[in-house]
């Protein structure tokens, strides 16, 4: 008994000594700032910053290649923590969230044919440009849902994606996967937005979709702050100029201009 305790204990002591010495001799030098920054980052490895995961971004920030605000997933609190670690001052940037610029659910938008292929928007769009009659509409097969590293998107009962603004960090992973390009980032304070991506003229839009923007320019004319511009038959609201009065939503003949955020 005693012999076993002594021999095993001795063995453990010698090996531990070896490990201790090795850890001193072969120690990898790490930058404490990198570690500290990696500690506060969200850790989702979403790739929104353009670097290979959060570790890559932490290194880039510590070496001054990029700014802490480039982390799309970090809220203002995390950016502030990074700024504190780096000892710099950061101007507050506003959080952005993703919005779906299409309301063409299968009730509203006509279908060209019955699709029975792969359940993925990027594959579905290869078949005759998608099964929906509008060539700009959401296909509803959830490539954005699969792309979201934060679980912020789900396909709603109408077959259109719904974004959970609490979970959305604005990293833009979903935007890169959408074959239609109908996902866009909006500042969270923007009050109204126009959820249609069609570049067609009013007549063509009316033929295929009930909730499509006809590009009638009424909103543009009625806006008291000249916050609306129109390009390629798509009206856009400038968040800086918009006062949130809601005149556009009231005047829109199709009543498609919507409140962007609940808060």
């Amino acid at each position: 008994m005693l012999a076993a305790v002594i021999s095993l204990g001795g063995l453990a002591f010698i090996l531990a000594l070896g490990l201790g010495v090795a850890s001193k001799i072969f120690a990898v030098e790490t930058d404490p700032t990198v570690e500290a920054i990696a500690e506060v980052l969200p850790g989702a490895n979403c790739g929104g910053c353009g670097y290979a995961g959060c570790a890559g971004f932490a290194e880039a920030v510590a070496s001054g290649q990029t700014a802490p605000t480039e982390c799309k997933a970090a809220g203002s609190d995390i950016v502030a923590q990074m700024a504190q670690i780096l000892g710099v001052k950061i101007e507050e940037t506003e959080k952005k969230v993703v919005k779906i610029f299409c309301q063409g659910s299968s009730d509203n938008c006509k279908s060209k044919f019955l699709y029975e292929g792969v359940f993925d928007c990027r594959a579905a769009v290869l078949l005759g440009g998608g099964y929906k009659a509008c060539p700009y509409s959401c296909l509803g097969y959830g490539s954005c849902v699969k792309a979201c590293p934060f679980g912020a998107i789900e396909i709603g009962p109408k077959g259109l994606p719904i974004v959970d603004e609490q979970k959305c960090t604005g990293c833009g992973s979903c935007i890169r996967q959408c074959p239609r390009g109908i996902l866009r980032l909006l500042p969270i304070s923007q009050k109204y937005y126009i959820p249609c991506s069609s570049k067609d003229k009013g007549k063509a839009v009316r033929q295929v979709c009930q909730t499509g923007c006809l590009a009638c320019k009424l909103c543009l004319k009625k806006c008291p702050n000249q916050a609306i511009t129109i390009e390629n038959n798509q009206p856009r609201i400038d968040a800086q100029k918009c006062s949130g009065c809601g005149v556009c939503a009231e005047k829109c003949p199709k009543k498609i201009i919507q409140l962007a955020s609940n808060g």
């Binding site: 060209k112 029975e116 993925d120 594959a123 005759g128 060539p135």
Partner: protein, 445 residues
Amino acid sequence: MKLKTFLGGIHPPGNKRLSEGKRIEAIPLPQKVYIPLVQHIGAPCEAKVEIGQKVKKGELLADSQAFVSAPVHASLSGSVIEIKNYPHAGGNQVKTIIIESDGLDEWVKEPQNGQNPLKLSPDEIKQKIRQAGIVGLGGAAFPSHVKLSPPKEKKIDAVILNGVECEPYLTADHQLMMEKPADIVKGLQIIMRALGVKQGYIGIEANKPDAVQAMQEATKEDSHIEVVGLKVKYPQGAEKQLIKAVLDREVPPPPGLPMDVGAVIQNVGTAYAIYEALSSGKPLIERVVTITGKGIKKPKNLSLRIGTLFSEVIDYCGGLTGEVGKILMGGPMMGLAQYTTQVPVIKGTSGILILPKGESPPTKAGRCINCGMCVRACPMKLIPSILGTYCERDLLDEAEEAQVLNCIECGSCVYVCPAKRHLVQIIKYGKSAILAKKREQKNKS
């Protein structure tokens, strides 16, 4: 005769009886023709006519400066009433010239027989082929003059005419070989002259013994042309499989082309169109199309003007037998499903297949059971099950390493898959994503 073939492939039911042996008919002059500006692989054409302009049959409607492109011509005389985006058999909307017939059907320049195209120089031949707007009539519609202009360092020593027609149901090439064997052979001689090639082959599947005989009869006097009988197997008519069977050469993976192993392939319909264009100056304004399937009352082989609507063709063939399951342009294996019959016949339309309801029921895709049937069926010696999984999960680098770009999208794997996976579609997605990524990298550098 020992029949040649390739490794892999499948044996779908031929169903060629429906339209086999029916003589090629012309249909009454259509009221309007819809001529898309994109009917080929390559740069789209630009319209050279205006709305309201009077045009005659054979007049140039649109052309492009690009080398890989082919002009389009008016297929009847009348006036241009509209130039707008219109449904195309590919599924998208494409800019289309709509001509209303004046009922006269006048030529801009009456085709004159009696010219001997074999006296032309190779360059003149290529130029005339381009001017006539000839593209590969097998279905892919690759401009023919491009295939006939290989770079100097590529030594071409064989031309193979493709009379295989391995797609089930289709009989257009078969019927053409029965009716115009001498003209097809002359077309092949023109192609051989343009390339400076001494040896020509005509590959025909063994299910068309009468066509083999007719072509052998027509080539009796030319000892440089050999008719090769091939085993009945799909996709025997794919370029690489045909080269393997006839010449026993293997085309290297992309960007390898048939010309890398010294071969040029042309469809028999293309050879016929080349002969017609060069002997009489007639541009490509009509082609032979098989209208078939159990969904149509009178299956036929028709000579149709480019731009004729599918609906008009269906009416001419006695209409539909009942509820339709699917309408395809092309055969059942590689054909494109249509959502409207208001699409025009284009240069690449080899057939219109109408399947009644129930013959092509919707399938629910299951999971791979690792049975390996697709591996045995793949004529390109790929592993479709794994390629499908890679593409599904966006593992594009792995897919590329597994030679996904080598896939010819023939659909043999889907045909045999007991789980009914949509392998071709997901592989098509993977290929397009890899090519898009490559383009992006090229633009960056």
